[in-house]
Symmetry: C2
Subunit: 210 residues, 2 copies
Amino acid sequence: MKLYSMKQAVNPQRVRIFLAEKGLDIETEEIDIPSGQNREESFLSVNPRGLLPALVLDDGTVLHESVAICRYIEGVHPEPCLLGATPKEQAIIDMRQREMEFDGLQSIAWIFRNTAPHFAARSHPGAVPDMAQLPDLAARGQILAALWFERLNESLESQEFVAGDSYSIADITAFCAVLFARWVKMPIPDHHSHTQRWFAAMKERPSAKA
Amino acid sequence: MKLYSMKQAVNPQRVRIFLAEKGLDIETEEIDIPSGQNREESFLSVNPRGLLPALVLDDGTVLHESVAICRYIEGVHPEPCLLGATPKEQAIIDMRQREMEFDGLQSIAWIFRNTAPHFAARSHPGAVPDMAQLPDLAARGQILAALWFERLNESLESQEFVAGDSYSIADITAFCAVLFARWVKMPIPDHHSHTQRWFAAMKERPSAKA
């Protein structure tokens, strides 16, 4: 297997942490998004959507989409279980993962992509036509990310992890979103004590440096 | 089990089609989004995010997020298999499902929410602060939806279904996205013969009316 990744990018990081939690170390090739390497023919021949990460299996199959890659890894390396064991657990983890992704990660990405000077002409990710930044979309991202932070803190008052009593892919997505939010100057609010407690625990895991 | 749904809304439709393909018929309660019923206390007590669909299990657990609901149903009613049998199949179906969701459904939703008169003050779904429509986001949705249509047609040239040789949840998401696109006056382009062939087959399935 070979992973196309970028050290500073949030979505590849999700997969790298997932791999680290599984104790797996696989061949990785760096693709530089700010310079546009993800839209060059050599990478588009791997993933025509121009998005990272992408995982090439030994039979040549290319998987993209972070969560789909994690699902494959979970299937071939089931332990430790990060996607849930029973139908109900799997559904709750998937639900919470998606909530972290849509309400958190995406909102923060809207801020980042629509304000970062690197992406002045490429405010939508991947192999799509150039698009100018939309300040209004960044502003919307600010409102939604703040709301996501509020709800995350509330949910962590009554449970140790994002999807309940066990560490899961939902924690990985939320952790990467919190790290990503620092890039747009949105740290965890000081008074969000439950998120602070959870984040401190996440940072201590060896996978946090993946 | 009880499903909170809305007949005309695209995300509940995904779950209803999934249930129909499984041969399941469950109790349903209608929630009217345009009039704001999804942001009233009676529904927020079910799903604080104010999003449809939501599935309440017999033990009181509430699942939201269409795909998470489908994952639960697949777990308790495995046949016919709609999420894949092997780790590789499951990953490919998840990848394609997400591609249909992010590139297709979301782009079309951006157009719809940012142009429909009903949603002049609520251009982002769910229980979030009122947000004015962003014409630039609708325009971005147009570009991305057109690109998604192109790529969908290309992919269906060499395979019968969206994720390969078998009908799956990826077809359901794509089918609902194509129907949703009609609301924003984006029919399948006449020359997209592969998508036309696939869509005609989808429409013939009994589940299409769910």
